[in-house]
Symmetry: C2
Subunit: 134 residues, 2 copies
DNA sequence: CCCTAAAAGGATAAAAAATGTCTTGTTAGG
DNA sequence: CCTAACAAGACATTTTTTATCCTTTTAGGG
């Protein structure tokens, strides 16, 4: 349970690598993939998702590549994980009110709410800066 | 991410139902399944897992069925979830030392450790008693 | 001793999700 | 206009989830 998928793992590896580069250094996807040992085509999909929400910036054509969308101090692990894995939702019940038929009476509900909160807090408290420092 | 599977959901529903029964009341699997709206064959598998680790006691034959292995105050949600979903492991890295090649240098590792700890703490703090009370 | 009730266990199947790959399109530089 | 690089969508493979079914074991009652 609660297991991060490969996608999430790859996503973290890739963006932490980016964060560890000198600022303004544009990185090729193929280089990143090789460095963090992830299939390049798969990493491409992941970085596309990052790009859409501004976590990374991308440039096409010759001399193109990727760099962080913000300074690493301003990107949290929570953002990275949710970008590729979707929102952190330990139980279906936690998804918006009324989704769960047992909603009103369900005693387990608030427990999952608490789990969700704790996990989010931990992940939100970690930035790419910390993760990329030697 | 972090999503409980149906199996986990069914497991909780089933055992909470048991916990809500008068002590020493032996319940038929078919009755439990109908009451909590879970396929009986699937619930059977789940209760077999419960039975193996003593979370429930089972009796075969006429007049047989299931009841809780311990008083509901002594069974935590953590036990129930881990019984059917396996240990709570947010990231492969968290599994025993050395499983992850990046183990030594991996900065993300301790973060997942913290996540794991928080989740376990929340779930371990809830008992079937609380969940089954009106 | 047999018959029926009930759970245990194993094999199998269908559906969904994860994990990748491939092809084509788009953008930019030289 | 040629090449480099990312974007986007379709497709394929594998694994996991979500069951179902059939046979076996255990137990009670006539």
């Amino acid at each position: 349970m609660m297991e991060l998928t490969r996608k999430g793992e790859y996503a973290i590896r890739g963006i932490v690598y980016l964060a560890a580069q000198p600022p303004d250094r544009v990185c090729l996807l193929s280089d990143i993939a090789a460095a963090v040992d992830v299939p390049a085509t798969f990493l491409a999909k992941i970085f596309q998702q990052f790009s859409k929400i501004g976590l990374v910036k991308s440039y096409r054509g010759t001399g193109g590549g990727f760099l962080l969308g913000r300074v690493p101090e301003k990107i949290t692990l929570l953002e990275v994980v949710e970008a590729v894995e979707g929102p952190i939702v330990p139980n279906r019940c936690v998804v918006g009110a009324g989704e769960c038929v047992r909603d009103v009476t369900c005693k387990v509900h608030p427990v999952w709410k608490r789990v969700q909160g704790q996990v989010r807090d931990v992940l939100a408290g970690v930035t790419l800066k910390e993760l990329s420092e030697v």
